[in-house]
Symmetry: C2
C-alpha cells in the first residue's frame, strides 16, 4: 500500500538496535524502555519510515484502528456537530474514521456498511437511514464487530444505542409554551415514520392532554427535517382557519426555517409567535432571535457515542448497552418567554 522504501531493517541500523526492538516500538509494546523508544522514534522520523498499519493489522490479527461513522445528512448542523464530537474522541484515541453520508438512502447505506466492513473497521457508529431494519446490521454483528446506533432507534437490532429522551424533551418544551399562555401549539416538521418524530409527537400530545387541550391533528405538519422543510411547514400551518400562535419544531433546522417563513409573512418570531427547536446546535445561540430549544448537545452526544464504541472495541467484548441521555430546555428569545416575563412584571 505504501510506496515508501525505508524498512524496519534501515531503522534498526540507524538506531543501533535489533529489528525486533523496532517492531516492539512500532507496536507500542511496554517492553521497550523510554530511552530506546526515543532513539527508534528519532530514526523513524529522520528516515521518513511509514508504518504499514494494514499489514500490521493482518499480522497481529488484532482489531484495526479504524471505525466507521454513518450519518444521514451532514449538511444539517446537528449531524455535522455529532461527527465533530466523534472525530475528537477517535483522533485522541489514535483511531481514524471512515465517514459516509447516506442522504436517507437505504441502498447507499447498505453499500457503505459493506464497503467499510471489507476495509476492516473495528466498529461502527450509525444514525440509521429511514426504513433501516435490524437485519441490516447482521453482517457486522455476525462478524463480532460492535455497532452503536445513535439518534434513531431500530427495534430488535441487538446492538448498543445512544438516544436522547425525545419524549421528555418534547413534553417539557410544550409545557413551556403552554405556560406562556399559548393554546394553539403546532408540531412542525420531521418525517412521521421515524422513531424520533413519533417520540417527540407523543411528548407534545401528552403535554396538551395534561393541560386539557384537545389535540388537533391539523396542527401536526410533517415536512423534511430541514430549513426548507420548516419554511414549507409553517406556510401550511398559517393557512389553517385557526392558525397556531406557537410551534414546537422537529429540530433546530426546521425551527430556523419556521422563523424564516414567519418573517416572510411579516410575523416576528419571539414577539408575535413562539418558536421552540430541538437539538441545540451551535447556531441556536447566535441566531436572532436566539433560539429556545431542547438541547441534546450534539457534540457531547458524538463524544459519548465514540466512547461507547471504543469501550467495546478495547474490551474485545460486544455487549449491547442502551443509553438514553437526558435533554435540557434552553430558554432563549424565540419562544417569547423574555417578553412574556416582562409583561407579567408590568401587570403585577
Amino acid at each position: 500500500m505504501t510506496r515508501s522504501r525505508v524498512t524496519v531493517i534501515d531503522i534498526a541500523r540507524a538506531a543501533g538496535v535489533s529489528k525486533s526492538t523496532v517492531s516492539l516500538v512500532l507496536q507500542a509494546s511496554p517492553l521497550v524502555n523510554e530511552q530506546t523508544r526515543a532513539k527508534v522514534n528519532a530514526a523513524i522520523r529522520e528516515l521518513g519510515y511509514v508504518y504499514n498499519r494494514g499489514a500490521a493489522n493482518l499480522r497481529q490479527t488484532a482489531s484495526s484502528k479504524i471505525v466507521g461513522i454513518v450519518v444521514n445528512d451532514l449538511t444539517n448542523s446537528f449531524f455535522a456537530e455529532l461527527a465533530v464530537g466523534m472525530d475528537m474522541v477517535m483522533q485522541s484515541a489514535g483511531f481514524v474514521q471512515f465517514l459516509a453520508n447516506t442522504g436517507e438512502s437505504l441502498d447507499r447505506q447498505r453499500e457503505v456498511i459493506a464497503s467499510m466492513h471489507e476495509h476492516g473497521i473495528s466498529g461502527l457508529i450509525i444514525s440509521p437511514a429511514r426504513g433501516t431494519e435490524a437485519a441490516d446490521f447482521k453482517p457486522l454483528t455476525a462478524a463480532g464487530i460492535p455497532v452503536v446506533i445513535v439518534v434513531r432507534n431500530i427495534a430488535g437490532a441487538k446492538v448498543s444505542s445512544l438516544l436522547s429522551d425525545n419524549y421528555a424533551g418534547a413534553r417539557e418544551a410544550t409545557e413551556h409554551l403552554l405556560s406562556l399562555g399559548h393554546r394553539r401549539i403546532a408540531f412542525l416538521g420531521g418525517f412521521s415514520d421515524t422513531t424520533v418524530a413519533l417520540e417527540r409527537v407523543h411528548g407534545y400530545r401528552d403535554a396538551l392532554v395534561q393541560a386539557g387541550i384537545a389535540a388537533d391533528d391539523a396542527l401536526i405538519v410533517n415536512s423534511a427535517p430541514s430549513r426548507a422543510g420548516g419554511v414549507a411547514a409553517v406556510e401550511r400551518a398559517m393557512l389553517l382557519a385557526e392558525p397556531p400562535t406557537a410551534a414546537l419544531c422537529f429540530n433546530d433546522a426546521v425551527a430556523f426555517g419556521v422563523c424564516d417563513g414567519l418573517r416572510a409573512r411579516g410575523v416576528e418570531p419571539g414577539r408575535d409567535f413562539g418558536v421552540v427547536g430541538f437539538d441545540g446546535v451551535i447556531e441556536a445561540q447566535a441566531a436572532v432571535p436566539a433560539l429556545t430549544t431542547v438541547s441534546v448537545d450534539p457534540q457531547g452526544m458524538g463524544r459519548r457515542a465514540a466512547q461507547m464504541l471504543l469501550k467495546q472495541i478495547n474490551s474485545g467484548r460486544v455487549e449491547a448497552e442502551a443509553m438514553v441521555t437526558s435533554v435540557r430546555l434552553a430558554v432563549r428569545q424565540s419562544c417569547g418567554a423574555a417578553m412574556k416575563d416582562m409583561g407579567r412584571r408590568n401587570t403585577a
Copy 2:
C-alpha cells in the same frame, strides 16, 4: 481483520468453480464471463463472505480503494457541503473515505495525515489549516500519493489544487454594492492570514479604487469565519464614527452573523443595510432575507475535487494540476437590490 469464517474455498465449492476463478471475480477481472461471475456472486451473497480488502490490497500491491479527506470546520455548512460532494463521487467510484476535521490545528492535521498514510490511503483531498506549509505534504508526495488542495492555496506545494476565483468574486460583489449607491462598504470577517482572505480583500479594494473611493482600513474588520464572528465584526463596524451602509462578508456564515448582529441593533438587512456573502451554501436561498452571495457551489467543488483525485489515482501518475473555478454573484434580497430597483422604477 474480518472474523467471518467463510473462505474462498467455500465459495468455490458452492458455485462449482475453482478457487482461482473466485479470486478473479473478487478482483473484478475481465477474464471471467458474466454467467460465471453471477454464479460466484450469488454464492458470495448466500454464504455471507466478506472480502478482506486490506489483505487484498497487500497481495496485489495495487493502490487501495481508500482516500483521505481533511477539512477545517465541519460545523461550517460550506465544508459540510464540500464533504458531501466528495462523498457522492467517492461512493459512486467504490471508494471509502477517511474524514477528519482539524479545527485549524496544525498538530491535529499532521497527526491525521500521518495516520491516514499509515492506513494506506491512495490519495488525499485537503483544505489546509492556517499556517500549513508545502513541506507538510512531503511524506505523501515522496511516497507517490496524489494530493489535491482545495479552498486555500499553499505556495510551493507542488500538488494539485482546486480553488475559487476569490479576487473576481469579491470584486464583482463590491461593484454590485457600489452600483446600488453604497459608498461606505465594509469587508467583514475572516482571518487576515489566509490566501482566501487576502484575495477577497484585494478584489474588494480594487473595486473601491476603480470607483474612486479611498479605501478605509477601519472598514476591514477581521473575525473568526463563523456566524458568531460575523456578529462580533458588524458590532465593531457599527461603532465607527462613520459606520458602513453595506458589507461584503468573508463567507456566508459571517454574513448570517452580520444579519443577526444588525437585527439585534434594529437595523434590517436588505432594507437598511446591504449584506453580501461568499460561498453559496444551501441555507443562503432559504434564509430571510435570502442571502445575496458569491456562489462557489460547495457541493460541486467537492465533486470536482474528488474527480481530480480519482483521475490521478486511476492513471497511476501524479501530475500536479491547478484549477481555479469561476464564481457567480447570486443576487437575492440581503443586498437590497430588489428594493433599490423598485425605488428606481418608482422615480423613473
